[in-house]
Symmetry: C2
Subunit: 244 residues, 2 copies
DNA sequence: GAGTGGTCTAGACCACTTC
DNA sequence: AAGTGGTCTAGACCACTCG
């Protein structure tokens, strides 16, 4: 059928259903930065014309991306990127007390090109990585000392970007500058004595138990694209998670 | 339209879209125990005939319940209840070490009808509650001491059920015996000294820091139907969570 | 072979937003 | 008024399961 020749993109697709091919194509174009969060994506009718598919099939593709949190549809006006929500979604924790939605301040401490431990290298699928250290605070109290590992091939250049260009959140930066959309993540929370360096940074006594969050974050295609470990003082620690 | 008169159920529905009305009706019939996990639900064509809706609309209703984790569709054979997966989904934590999918053993310690604190009463929307204490262990080591609060009107009788009828998991029991399907939950993980009673049960020193999980669980209609607080020794604690 | 869900079409009418 | 997404229809053909 003529369908695939329209929908197909250079790197993707095999004998997947049309709506999946279209989903992938749209996700790729989003990642490529083709639309900002204010310019609407092509309408259903435009995509129908572009792809030769029917409206229902086009709808299904777009709805998938809505369900994944990438897009947002507004009746009467169009379909848009969704900058806001997905970082709120992935940053809906570290509520100090009951207060939840305030974003902690970030300060970069170090950025180097380095080789991670075997376990991390295996998760990210490479030994050439960028290592970022970062401190997060809220209302003058230290919340978290983070160590972040990124595969060099996806994030080359982030190690020399001027600090002011980093916002308080990394995931929007990943998308804007590197076309990497974080679609999901797995967190593991545990408690362990903090190593000396980290205890110092957090302003707590060495070997005081600290909260530990290990996170692996995944791109839309399922590839692990970030690993981080964060330590925080256990007394002000609160991790919130929605299940189901 | 004739549509609503077919779809409508005694307690539900107003001017919602037909597919939502049908979703609610199916969810209600599932909760009422109308089908086991081996008998298929009515097929798309049967529901089309029953409701007077078109296949596409019926599909949409069923797909919603699949997305919510209640149903499972098998091409060629039918649509079925999904006992298995949702408790695995909600019990994907407390992995000791890297081992994740083993279910801890449960022992009931106490069950009473009682009045919860104001905060819990407000969450559950009632002051007449059932309080359950429960200990969970794995491979001879204590994992968790739980205190569970349930609204009496939904769970009347659970306080006198013979212990053997409780499995290691409560959520399947809620569904089987009380028609309450846990659709989602919010967990909060923190870290605090354990109260004396709990420290004793866990076999740790009083005032030793312990991991604390507070959970509010919600039925499919969004009502909070369970609140629990669990304490565990912090050294063997590991909480895993999938985001996005 | 009959029945199931999976994909897809080519429309329709509606509610809403924007100009 | 024109364009958008939201709902819904009445079909089609396919892949799969089961007896």
């Amino acid at each position: 059928m003529a369908r695939q020749t329209h929908v197909q993109t250079s790197t993707t697709d095999t004998r997947l259903p049309a709506y999946m091919q279209l989903r992938d194509m749209l996700a790729a174009r989003v990642a490529r930065g083709e639309w900002s969060s204010e310019t609407p994506l092509p309408s259903e009718n435009q995509l129908k014309a572009e792809t030769g598919l029917s409206v229902g099939t086009v709808r299904k593709s777009m709805q998938m991306l809505v369900d994944e949190g990438l897009l947002e549809r507004r009746q009467g006006s169009g379909t848009f990127l969704r900058k806001r929500a997905f970082d709120a979604t992935l940053f809906r924790f570290f509520a100090v007390g009951t207060d939840s939605d305030t974003i902690p301040k970030s300060r970069l401490v170090a950025r180097t090109i380095a080789q991670p431990h075997a376990a991390v290298a295996s998760i990210l699928g490479t030994t050439k990585c960028i290592r970022i250290e970062r401190l997060r605070s809220h209302a003058d109290s230290m919340l978290l000392a983070e160590e972040i590992w990124l595969p060099y091939d996806r994030f080359a250049g982030i190690e020399t970007m001027p600090e002011p260009e980093f916002g308080p959140l990394l995931y929007p930066l990943y998308l804007d500058r590197f076309g990497v959309f974080i679609a999901s993540a797995v967190d593991e929370v545990s408690f362990a004595p903090a190593p000396a360096v980290i205890a110092t940074r957090l302003g707590i006594a060495t070997d005081t138990p600290a909260a530990v969050i290990e996170r692996t974050a995944f791109a839309a295609d399922g590839a692990a694209v970030e690993w981080r470990i964060a330590h925080g003082p256990s007394n002000r620690f609160r991790y919130r998670s929605r299940l189901g």
